[in-house]
């Protein structure tokens, strides 16, 4: 009985793995070859594609009615100019050449004017090419079909990235077209060693995913790890890189992202040159960069374009902003509810005066205001731009002001909450601010329970989590710990460009040197 069950289970597993390796195996027709009878083949293909109305069939004849052929394509995916051009090429054949004398291979090479074409013979290939927007030529005589590359790529024009704007730096951002995005990166790294590995993810969506790395620079173990994790993905559809990000990250319970997301081709090119791996997903302008380390929290591509003193000061400012975003409300709560003695006497008197009449303990006050500001932020994003701003101003000013005058919260609390909110937006990456905003709440609650001790314990727990966290085998806190003095040159302080002679150690690049020592 047990054996039988085992076999049953095992077979099931086997079947599943077959299924995943050959995702087209949904209909028995798929394995069949073209028959060479035009009407028959067209009918089967039509049936395969669900008799959909957008499969266009353009019949043509040649060699005074001796040759019968057809163009098949899916209208909205296909650049119909290609079809017309090829049709014209066939029509303009001289009287003495007969298509019926040629094999499809000869026809492809001698008659057709398109540069990219190939020969197919199974229905499976035909249908998959059709769905990609290619055009299929079938004839009444041969069992081979010709595939023309006629993919139409609808594309948005290149615009400045909206989620990561910079003062200084290139203004182009990624768009929704994979090839164009690859081009944007390639233009910046004209390196023959730039390696592109192609993947198809999603059994139904068949989304194109490209892994970019640099041969002889990027650590092959990291590249292999990225590829392995991509290969493991077994999902039916992928609409955005965020889905892939969540499927390949190490720890999905962590509040911290483990893959960097960017819209900027210069960031991707720079990261590749540092020894990281980029994952570009079709149909989204958000490119993934792995591994992600703590540095990405407060570093921006712009830091390398500005002069070093300015960049370093800005980075320190961002770190301070991150700490404020994380801890300020909890410190306020702890001071007000447990350690009033720490506040200077004059201030404590005025604080007590302003809190007079506020009916809640400070934690309730803080949670009330923090939640309000989160709601305002969320509402501001969803509304159309002009309305969103109005809501922000009205909400922020009116609610803040009237909450104070109504005696719900103290004015000091409004200052704390506003400063915290602004600080969390001062970080260069939006999603990093998000994780800090999430963590703010548990720290606030532990401050309310245990005062300063609670904050310290919460921060110890947070640092233990960060210490244990890894991104693609690289410790999250590298190069801060384990100590790597070389990496410290480009951390809180970005030293002079001249002194950044080697790549970051933490990525274990094969080519360590970035700049010759002559500079």
């Amino acid at each position: 009985m047990k054996k039988f069950l085992n076999r049953l289970l095992f077979q099931h597993v086997q079947k599943k793995s077959e299924y995943t390796s050959e995702p087209f195996e949904t209909s028995p027709l798929h394995h069949e070859r073209l028959t060479g009878e035009l009407q028959n083949d067209i009918q089967t293909l039509k049936a395969l594609l669900g008799n959909s109305f957008d499969l266009k069939i353009v019949r043509f004849t040649s060699d005074p009615y001796a040759y019968d052929g057809a163009f098949l394509f899916i209208e909205e995916l296909t650049d119909t100019a290609v079809v017309h051009e090829q049709l014209r090429a066939i029509r303009s054949l001289s009287e003495t050449t007969y298509l019926s004398d040629m094999s499809p291979e000869t026809m492809r090479q001698e008659v057709l004017t398109i540069s990219e074409s190939s020969i197919v013979d199974t229905l499976h290939q035909c249908s998959s090419h059709l769905l990609q927007g290619n055009t299929l030529i079938l004839s009444d005589k041969y069992k081979d079909g010709i595939i023309l590359n006629s993919r139409k790529m609808p594309q948005r024009s290149i615009q400045a990235p909206s989620s990561e704007s910079v003062v200084r730096g290139p203004r182009d951002g990624f768009v929704e077209t994979l090839l164009l995005n690859i081009g944007l990166v390639r233009k910046r790294l004209k390196d023959p060693d730039l390696q592109l590995d192609y993947f198809k993810v999603g059994e139904r969506s068949k989304t194109d995913v490209v892994v970019m790395s640099i041969n002889g620079l990027t650590n092959p173990k990291i590249v292999q790890e990225v590829k392995n994790r991509l290969n493991k993905i077994d999902i039916d559809s992928v609409q955005e890189s965020g889905v892939i990000e969540q499927l390949i990250e190490e720890n999905s319970l962590s509040p911290f992202p483990q893959v960097q997301v960017t819209e900027r081709p210069d960031t991707v090119a720079g990261s590749l040159a540092e020894g990281r791996v980029a994952i570009i997903v079709d149909h989204t302008p958000f490119v993934l960069i792995a591994p992600l380390t703590i540095n990405s929290f407060y570093q921006s591509a712009e830091d390398y374009y500005e002069r070093w003193v300015y960049s370093s000061l800005i980075r320190i400012l961002r770190v301070a902003a991150a700490l404020i975003a994380l801890c300020l409300p909890s410190i306020y709560v702890a001071l007000i509810s447990y350690h009033q003695g720490l506040i200077p006497t004059d201030l404590v008197i005025s604080l007590a005066g302003s809190r007079e009449g506020v009916p809640f303990p400070s934690i309730v006050e803080a949670l009330l205001m923090e939640v309000t500001i989160e709601i305002l932020r969320e509402a501001g994003i969803r509304l159309p731009n002009p309305v969103g701003q109005a809501v922000g101003i009205v909400g922020g000013l009116v609610i803040g002001e009237s909450a104070v005058s109504a005696g719900l919260v103290s004015p000091m609390m409004v200052i704390v909450v506003a400063l915290t909110a602004i600080s969390s937006f001062a970080l260069p990456q939006y999603y990093v601010g998000v994780s800090l905003r999430i963590l703010r709440f548990p720290i606030m609650i532990s401050a309310a329970l245990l005062g300063l001790y609670g904050i310290v314990i919460a921060l110890i727990l947070l640092s233990i989590h960060l210490i244990r966290l890894k991104s693609f085998g690289v410790y999250y806190l590298e190069p801060l710990v384990p100590y790597s003095p070389k990496g410290w040159k480009d951390m809180f302080i970005r030293t002079q460009t001249k002194s950044l002679k080697s790549r970051p150690d933490m990525l274990h690049p094969q080519d360590k040197k970035r700049m010759s020592s002559k500079n």
Partner: protein, 363 residues
């Protein structure tokens, strides 16, 4: 997921910092009182330096023992030297010693918290949270512990030195004169510093985890030099500011030193509370490594999983930590831990070294 780059072995820096932070624990705050009480004279800082030098010598002997069994930790090779029964017994009492040590650190932290920041919160609650936090770290393995030490080390050193610098204006040379008053007081002072050096024997366990075990000697010497120098500075500063006689009456002399700091027109008053996180961190680091070593011993003796070992010792630590009835009993417990370190952490390994040499074992 499994990591692609294997970087879990310890570096020389990590071992140095690991030893320093294990040694720097409760002792840091109480050392001046203990030294001055025992020595009775101002030259107590010489005792600290001498104990540090002796400790370095003992550690070098321990490394000699380690090097006879490369790649193995003390728990693994003690059964090779004296057989699995006696070896198992040694491992067990070492674990018990570490469990008691962990209980002491926990209780000391809880007393500190109760005295300075949370006077109405029950001690048991602060302790349980503290132990739970340490357990979370210990479950990450030795690599996580030592990387966390690297993260905290600069902060602990910086803030300790900051206290010294901020209080330097009150320093009076006359308080610590004369520098030398004969050997007997210095020897007495040395006996009181033993508890502050508890933890140096971790080199017996961590050399096996090093990427380059041949660098253990350097790491150990630096690792013991940092706390020794820091202790000596603390003793000199506290003695110089408070005076020997007054220091003897203070429960937490370093805390009182922080209290004496006054900065005008600074945003916060009562500056010393901001050093509380510093003590919490330095006690936490000691607790974490001690808990790890205790669990490792239990795991070796009873052949159980790491998680089982860790979770089984939590109740014992809690009960032991609740045993002292007041702060004086707690400090007595600390003194006994100091003595058991001499026996279990130093005596037994040195005997094992002797046995190993006599039996001409080498691997």
């Amino acid at each position: 997921m499994k990591s692609a780059l294997n970087t879990s072995e310890l570096t020389q820096n990590q071992v140095t910092i690991g030893i320093s932070l294990t040694v720097l624990g409760v002792g840091m705050i109480t050392l001046p009182r203990e030294v001055f009480t025992a020595a009775g004279v101002a030259s107590g800082w010489v005792s600290v330096l001498l104990t540090g030098i002796i400790a370095a010598g003992v550690m070098l002997l321990m490394i000699v023992l380690n090097n006879r069994y490369p790649g193995m930790s003390y728990y693994q090779y003690n059964r090779i030297i004296v057989g699995s029964w006696i070896g198992g017994f040694i491992t067990l009492i070492t674990s018990i010693y570490y469990v008691t040590f962990a209980a002491f650190e926990t209780r000391a932290m809880a007393e500190l918290i109760q005295m300075f920041i949370l006077d109405r919160t029950p001690v048991s609650f602060t302790m349980l949270i503290f132990i739970g936090t340490a357990v979370y770290l210990v479950l990450g393995g030795y690599s996580a512990i030592f990387r966390l030490f690297e993260l905290y080390f600069p902060a602990i050193i910086f803030f300790t030195l900051l206290i010294m610098i901020l209080s330097a204006n009150q320093f009076e040379m006359n308080h610590i004169r004369p520098f030398f008053e004969g050997f007997p007081p210095i020897m007495k002072g040395m006996s009181a510093t033993v508890l502050s050096f508890v933890g140096m024997e971790i080199i017996l366990f961590i050399q096996a985890f090093m990427r380059k075990p041949e660098r253990a000697k350097k790491a150990a010497v630096y690792g013991i030099a940092i706390p020794t120098v820091l202790y000596a500075i603390i003793v000199i500063m506290v003695g110089g500011i408070m005076g020997v006689g007054e220091t003897m009456t203070l429960v937490y002399p370093l805390m009182e030193l922080a209290k004496s700091i006054e900065i005008r027109n600074f945003f916060f008053e009562r500056f010393e509370t901001f050093f509380i996180p510093l003590w919490i961190l330095s006690i936490f680091t000691t607790l974490a490594i001690v808990l790890y070593l205790a669990a490792l011993g239990i795991k070796t003796v009873f052949n159980v999983k790491k998680e089982t070992a860790v979770f089984s010792i939590i109740p014992i630590i809690y009960i032991l930590a609740m045993t002292p009835k007041n702060i004086n009993e707690m400090f007595t417990m600390g003194v006994w831990i100091g003595y058991s370190m001499l026996a279990i952490g130093v005596g037994i390994p040195l005997i094992l070294l002797l046995v190993s040499i006599l039996r001409r074992q080498k691997q």
